[in-house]
């Protein structure tokens, strides 16, 4: 009986159901190396938790607590303090903004984001542009469309999850276009931090996915290769 590394890790974290845990324990009894690995996982958790634990014991800095003080109007304080967080490298940021401005300018066009082609829906305009060019690992600031996961379906086609205010779903590459496989209408009122998030889309993506989603490097390579 083989126990794969992820299963062993899940055992060490107490994430397995009782039946699987029993299997792992049997294997551990027969193979001391497995038991050592479990101990190493637990030791690593203890090391990390111990290293950062003191932060939660420290008193909260006044400037942070003040943001949540009822006596303060927090929205007021926000714009001035934000700069703090984004201050370094202003010059380069301005250069980057210029590039983004140019890109955003190109995205403005009168046609909608979806067209119907021989009975299937395909992305066009700003949505097609986002699917073609945007990397989840480096989205342009203020982009209307958020790209989530990029993955291959069992037929080998590249698919990407996307989300904007009007529409979200999954688009897959076919014949040089992005065919919409699954869409739900976005809800502008709820915005990016909906508690449910894009959970349904993620679930659908997981069901369609062959293997793991692409990591940042593979995503970039896929884009540079024309999404083939």
């Amino acid at each position: 009986m083989t126990i794969d590394p992820e299963m062993l890790m899940a055992y060490a974290d107490g994430e397995l159901d009782p039946l699987s845990a029993k299997r792992v324990e049997k294997a551990m009894a027969a193979d001391p190396a497995l038991a050592e690995r479990v101990a190493a996982h637990r030791a690593l958790r203890a090391t990390l938790a111990g290293h950062f634990a003191p932060v939660a014991e420290q008193p909260v800095p006044a400037r942070l607590a003040a943001l949540l003080d009822d006596a303060v109007v927090p929205i007021r304080a926000a714009p001035a303090r934000r700069r703090n967080w984004l201050s370094a490298g202003n010059l380069a940021a301005m250069a980057a903004t210029l590039v983004i401005g140019l890109l955003a300018g190109r995205m403005l066009e009168p046609a909608g984001p979806v067209a119907s082609r021989q009975g299937s829906l395909v992305a066009q305009g700003s949505l097609a542009q986002a699917l073609d060019t945007q990397l989840a690992s480096a989205p342009p600031t203020g982009a209307a469309t958020r790209i989530g996961l990029t993955f291959r379906d069992p037929a080998g086609a590249l698919c990407r999850t996307f989300e904007d205010r009007a529409l979200s779903g999954i688009a897959c590459r076919a014949a040089g276009e992005w065919t919409l496989r699954r869409t739900t209408s976005g809800d502008a009122a709820q915005g990016a931090y909906r508690q449910a998030g894009s959970a349904e889309t993620m679930e659908a993506a997981q069901a369609m996915m062959a293997g793991d989603p692409l990591d940042a490097a593979a995503e970039r390579a896929a884009r540079d290769g024309g999404w083939r």
């Binding site: 890790m9 994430e15 190493a40 958790r45 938790a49 950062f52 943001l67 989205p139 989603p213």
Partner: protein
């Protein structure tokens, strides 16, 4: 107001999360501030009765990603200007901060972002796999494979005995 009071109660944990993501304590508190401000603006989107901590962790993680990306873009601009000099990942700052981080912080800083956030949520903050996957909006299989790779890397950096 209850919303502020509940956030205030979460602050110690949020600071810990911020510091396990950021490069040093000062960056961690800046990140914390950005996340609180974003949460206050987005407060209407939080649904009472759902977990405020998960919602808040997600906001903080998104703030961190935004900042990391902004930093990467700045880095790329400089590379374009000094083409050939190989100054891409601001190695200087990284070395400086490594001095005050200690072994664990240094090992964390070497991880790719996508592994660091998973490690921070599960091993530092103690979220279950399912909860962490929901915060990050990734499938659970993706979470476990990142967690496994991140752990392997940390064990190598820290020595197996860690």
């Amino acid at each position: 107001m209850p919303f502020e009071r509940d956030l205030l109660a979460l602050l110690p944990r949020l600071r810990r999360f911020a510091q396990s993501l950021a490069r040093d304590p000062a960056d961690g508190d800046d990140l914390c501030q950005a996340a609180i401000e974003r949460a206050l603006k987005a407060r209407d989107q939080w649904q009472a009765g759902t977990r405020l901590d998960s919602w808040m962790y997600r906001i903080m993680r998104n703030c961190w990603i935004d900042e990391a990306r902004a930093r990467t873009r700045r880095g790329q601009t400089f590379v374009a200007e000094d083409a050939g000099l190989g100054v891409g990942n601001d190695g200087h700052t990284r070395t400086e901060m490594a001095v005050e981080l200690g072994n664990v912080g240094r090992a964390m800083a070497k991880l790719p972002d996508e592994q660091r956030e998973v490690i921070a949520l599960v091993l530092v903050e103690g979220f279950a796999y399912k909860e962490a996957a929901e915060i990050l909006e990734i499938p659970i299989g993706t979470l476990t494979s990142r967690l496994c790779r991140g752990r392997d890397a940390l064990m190598v950096h820290l020595g197996e005995a860690a």
